[in-house]
Symmetry: C2
Subunit: 475 residues, 2 copies
């Protein structure tokens, strides 16, 4: 890593000159949204925010920084949860945002692809695809603010991965400015290409530590014509996973969401979030919110699902169920999912885990982790929910009732270690979708094998020998 030092004012002037008057910000008040994280957990400082307008401008900026040994921090919509887009606090790094590079360069409905610049807001991209009767399936809470370049750098997950995969799976081509300012043009619109090493996958999910993603070619899909949304009570997490496997098979793999939540989560939502309704007539210990979508439509699809759920009820997997009969009802069911995230804030401190395990281990993980919480912090209240269709559980643990919040949160690292050890015993991941950033950087060193860490370090040293790309993140 480069030695921390003040950036030469003359260099800052050269950078300002490259991007022109509308391409930089140095007023502290105007820089505020760039150096602070939206939740207030991370805060950095930079002498200069650059907003280049073209790939060539960024290339010139990067070459200039590389020659001077000045580190840079790439930033998308600044919606991440692990501090990956926040500069260090010592004013030693230049922050670069591509929010002015937000054009959709080409929409190709016949090829089912879109070519887009990194600064394009996700929702804008979703809408542009819909306008030509196509689906861009990436969907997540921050979609009105986050930028596609950040989504790719973070390999964002979201609610549709069960059907369409993670962001990584949606990328066909990339344009990247390398740490030395060279431009790698990998903007291929191809479904098949076996001509050497697949470089794009190195930059996807690297959180801006290997290069600067400036544009991408992304896959589009046919728009679903019919969506069925259901809310079910299930016996336990094991039953949920059995139901998931059989529904994938019975529905022709048309599940697009499968979210597990415990009763306590619904209780929190009913208590704290106005508009939450329990759609079933009595309480149950576990629930699944599911969505299935088809491109063909017609009554047959709903009948197939009803039949499969009927069988699951007879088999004792499902205890009660409701299928939305209108879009408004479907929205109400999805509202529960959003409300349970919101509601946890009102129950005091919450120690969080964004983990994944094999889908077949979900039941066992929840049981073991719940027991471990009880052993470690008696009275703490686990709220395990999330995208279990992908084996991704947001294992959040609310403080014991009436406990001191600060004292509770002081046990964050201790509880993380206990829960992560269970994850590791199942060959799971300590960051399923949120990434590493600065937040999990130390823990990464603990949980990854020396061989894997060594490979990652060698790749970092090869692509970014000066260590100028987003220092202090990931590795």
């Amino acid at each position: 890593m480069p030695e921390t030092k003040k950036i030469d004012p003359a260099l800052l002037d050269r950078l300002r000159a490259i991007v022109g008057p509308s391409g930089h910000i140095d007023d502290p008040a105007d820089m505020e949204p760039y150096v602070a994280e939206w939740r207030g957990r991370y805060r950095g400082a930079t002498p200069l925010v650059l907003r280049p307008a073209t790939t060539q401008e960024l290339s010139d900026v990067m070459r200039t920084c590389a020659e001077a040994g000045v580190p840079v921090v790439p930033q998308g919509g600044n919606t991440g949860l692990v501090g990956g887009s926040i500069p260090s606090a010592d004013n030693s790094e230049v922050l670069i945002s591509l929010s002015r590079m937000n054009k959709i360069r080409e929409m190709d409905p016949l090829n089912y692809t879109v070519t887009v610049e990194a600064g394009c807001v996700l929702q804008t991209l979703q809408q542009a695809a819909a306008d030509v009767d196509r689906l861009f399936p990436l969907s997540l809470g921050a979609e009105g603010t986050c930028q596609i370049g950040g989504n790719i750098s973070a390999n964002a997950g979201g609610t549709m991965t069960l059907r369409y995969g993670n962001t990584r799976d949606l990328v066909l081509g990339l344009e990247v400015v390398l740490p030395d300012g060279q431009i790698w043009n990998g903007m291929r619109r191809l479904r098949k290409n076996n001509t050497g090493y697949d470089l794009k996958h190195l930059f996807i999910g690297a959180e801006g530590t290997l290069g600067f993603i400036t544009a991408a070619v992304l896959k589009l899909f046919p728009r679903p014509k019919q969506v069925e949304t259901g809310f079910l009570a299930v016996r336990d997490p094991d039953a949920a996973i059995e139901l998931l496997a059989s529904l994938r098979s019975a529905s022709g793999d048309s599940l697009s969401a499968f979210e597990l939540m415990p009763r306590i989560a619904l209780d929190f939502a009913l208590k704290h979030v106005a508009g939450t309704i329990d759609p079933l007539s009595e309480p149950f210990p576990w629930y699944v919110l599911l969505e299935l979508s088809t491109g063909t439509g017609g009554d047959a699809f709903r009948e197939t699902i009803e039949a499969a759920l009927g069988e699951a009820m007879e088999a004792g997997l499902v205890q009660d169920a409701t299928l939305a009969s209108s879009e408004a009802q479907a929205k109400q069911l999805w509202f529960i999912r959003e409300a349970i995230v919101e509601a946890q804030k009102y129950e005091g401190g919450s120690i969080k885990h964004d983990i994944s395990i094999p889908v077949s281990c979900v039941g066992s993980f929840i049981a073991q982790a719940t027991e471990a919480v009880e052993r470690t912090i008696p009275g703490a209240r686990p709220v395990p929910f999330g995208h279990v269709g992908d084996g991704n559980i947001h294992f959040n643990v609310n403080q014991p009732v009436d406990a001191d919040t600060e004292a509770y949160l002081a046990q964050w690292d201790k509880l993380n270690e206990v829960v992560h050890d269970i994850v590791l015993s199942m060959d799971g991941s300590i960051s399923a979708e949120h990434g590493i950033g600065t937040f999990k950087r130390e823990e990464l060193q603990r949980v990854k094998s020396p061989v894997e860490l060594d490979l990652m370090r060698r790749i970092k040293a090869t692509l970014d020998p000066q260590g100028l790309m987003n220092p202090g993140k990931v590795l």
Copy 2:
């Protein structure tokens, strides 16, 4: 690259001792299937074929070779088409086959994954998945012989990529022995994992030049319950691509194959391959063989497809069509696809191209490439066919009638260059699914950008600093 030299006999003895008596072959006759390619185009020589029984044995072998600076050639089922698994001719490399490491380590139907060793034959794996009511969708001509480790190293394509992607898209985890003998355990059975650089994608498609894949975790899918197979006459390639886009949408993305073929290909098959039948009542210039599959079944699916094809006929895209009404009929339609590959052999020399372009450029590519062939070798007969659903065309060009085959084939490189230049103008790939090996190594240097070649070389130098992994392949 290491200097070519004879391998020290004492070292060969040490390698023999690591794998034991049943783990090595040094009789020239027994080594024959390992050093010769099945079509007879490539031939090498090695003093020793090693067949380790465990990852640890391979690790010991690789460490021993690395310490002595001896290069190794990984080999799967030896079914590749670009010479990637054949050693050099000078006896300087040890050949390693994992055919004894062929176990299915774990089948996990609930997680929709299988954990398998590299030497497992593809067909065995397909069958094991079917036995637990799951689909492993990779399917290609050599499936009775090729091994999954080779498929992953080559990122094999095949007939089902339109729906399920390439081999790369089916891999969740890998175990790799690195060039220095270290074992990287990346055997994760996870759908989501954002904990640093995605190392597995480096080894997938690297053709054994960065490390030795020993095992993998692969995705499984629900088995389709209903398959519809059709053979259509289309106006021209542009019409085929329009039809493809609208059928993806109308069928809810259930197309699993979409193969284009010209009349000349069918003529060749009717003339040379017994059992080929023209399923339509009169000749047409272009045909599409398509397959759609669904996991739900029922009459509705076929009705949807019939309606979509009816609309395409009214729009003039489709001129005639037949949908198979039995499995036997479907097999007969697929037989045409196999027969047209076979039949080209009986029409003299054929200069081949395995290219891909954006799907929306298929019509334009075929027109331009056909014109270029006519200009370059008047009378030569293009037979452009293949997986156009992926933009992958096997642009084979048969010699002019009565031309001298040897003189014709002498123009291979010249024609390749002309056709590849058209591919490059469309940002296409000169090797869509067959890889680089030794066959396209020189051409790769011509067509890739200096930036991309440099990145590839830096990665190779980082992971394999001595250049001992499959030298002379890819780079």
